[in-house]
Amino acid sequence: MQSLSNRKKVLEQKPMNFWERIYLPAIFKGLSITIKHFFKRIPTVRYPEVKRPYSKNFRGQHSLKRDEQGRERCTACGLCALSCPAEAITMISAERKQGEEHLYREEKYAAVYEINMLRCIFCGLCEEACPKEAIYLDGPHVTADYLRKDFIYGKDKLVEPRFDLVNEVETTA
């Protein structure tokens, strides 16, 4: 039958000639290829010791940001949770009390802020939705764990450490 597409290729199997039948030339060709690879530079990155730089727009683990005075920027407006296509974010808001101005920038803050890392698809829509520039996906990889409950990250893991501008060190409080 005539081929309509003209892409049909008829392969014909010729009987092997003498040199093909004694295998040796083909074997030497193969050997020369493998020995070339033997001396090639190996592209492996030895991971735990050497880490490859991430691209600039890599999206890793979320961090909740602080402002210049070390106060949490998040005002618990819920826009990130609303924008999240995977519904990974949940939070409980609370009102800032007297004397807590050094902890929270806005009058309302997130008392509980949880991201389920198993649901999160790291799309970055939460950081786009945030009006307070409080959440960024600028962390490392989310590490593996054994239990599902341990993948729900609370504020203890998400809020970035306070940075002491005077001594230029990270502090915990």
Binding site: I27, G30, L31, T34, F38, K40, I42, P43, R46
Partner: protein
């Protein structure tokens, strides 16, 4: 028999035994390293620097694994199988001349465990025995895959032993001796190496050695993809380890045999022109011999990571229809050339 002789032989046997075991051990690491480098990656490199502790880890793991003897297996033969495999692998190295004589004090120490005048024949017999280990193990497992592997091993061994023997006959016609010590001693210097007079014979011997060691491209007895491991499917723990060890020791011994028969063994170019004392020549000779062996072991691995496995009918075709006629032609040609040389020159 004097005491010094016994001590001398005992030390030599122990040294040869330990060296072949250590080389077999590190061949496993070298194999994985070579495989890695040929596939553009590093081999195992986590256990110690460059992974040099890897064989110890693997060996240790073998000892701690549970040892299973299947319910339907023939228990005595199941145990005898790997035993024969490792014993035949180890005793092959007895006739290999590792170097010339060392003079210690007023004693002359031959660096060869046993200089028997039928050394080549002995090697041949040991190699033929080796297949019993695989056969018995494969049959005793009471498993169709291991039986297939064992049957393949037996028929492959028989087919290629013929060509191996025939290629050796041509060599023996040249050397006029069956003693390995004498064959090596004849090849002093560089131009006297047997490879220059028997290139075709060497090629046949090399191919058959690959087949006898069950190495790729002749690893049909244990092809992982078809027979899920072949004759050693049912083996676990150190019994499996012994089979693997036997394979690597076989590789080492056949490398040694090839270097001794065709590449001058401990002989190296200009060995008597450097003005060294006999002891130094012996020591350098041993080192050279091992360098040749390692080169062959590397070649074994190089082939393994280059060629695919033969199909079974291709294997038989190559053995019976190509190598045996070629070996016979080689014998005839050698005979004719010898007669011409004797009558006219």
């Amino acid at each position: 028999m004097e005491l010094a002789f016994v001590i001398e032989k005992f030390v030599l046997v122990t040294a040869v035994f330990v060296i072949s075991l250590v080389i077999a051990m590190y061949s496993t690491l070298a194999e994985r390293k070579v495989a890695g480098f040929m596939q553009d990656r590093f081999g195992p490199d986590r256990a110690g620097p460059f992974g040099i502790l890897q064989p110890l880890c693997d060996g240790g793991k073998f000892f701690f694994k549970e040892e299973i003897i299947p319910a339907g297996a023939h228990k005595p033969l199941f145990i005898i199988g790997p035993t024969i495999a490792i014993i035949t692998a180890c005793i092959g190295s007895a006739v290999i001349p590792w170097g010339q004589a060392l003079t210690i004090g007023d004693r002359i120490v031959e660096l060869q465990v046993a200089d028997i005048n039928v050394g080549v024949l002995y090697m041949f017999g040991v190699v033929a025995l080796g297949v019993y280990g695989i056969m018995l193990g494969g049959w005793a497992s009471n498993n169709k895959f291991s039986l297939m592997g064992a049957v393949r091993a037996a028929s492959q061994s028989i087919s290629y032993e013929l060509a191996l023997g025939l290629s050796l006959i041509a060599l023996l016609m040249v050397t006029q001796s069956l003693s390995l010590k004498e064959i090596v001693a004849q090849q002093s210097g560089f131009v006297n190496w047997n490879i220059w007079v028997q290139p075709v014979g060497f090629l046949i011997f090399l191919v058959c050695a690959f087949a006898e060691c069950n190495r790729v491209p002749f690893d049909l007895p244990e092809c992982e993809t078809e027979l899920i491991g072949g004759y050693n499917v049912e083996y676990s723990s150190m019994k499996l380890g012994l089979y693997m060890f036997a394979e690597y020791i076989n590789m080492f011994v056949s490398s040694a045999l090839m270097s001794a028969l065709y590449f001058g063994g401990y002989n190296f170019p200009f060995m008597y022109d450097l003005g060294l004392s006999q002891n130094w020549i012996t020591i350098i000779g041993v080192i050279v011999f091992f360098a040749k062996i390692f080169a062959f072991i590397f070649f074994f691995m190089w082939i393994r990571w280059t060629l695919p496995r033969f199909r079974y009918d291709q294997l038989m075709n190559l053995g019976w229809k190509m190598l045996i006629p070629l070996a016979i032609a080689n014998i005839v040609l050698t005979g004719v050339i010898t007669i011409i040389k004797d009558t006219f020159f």
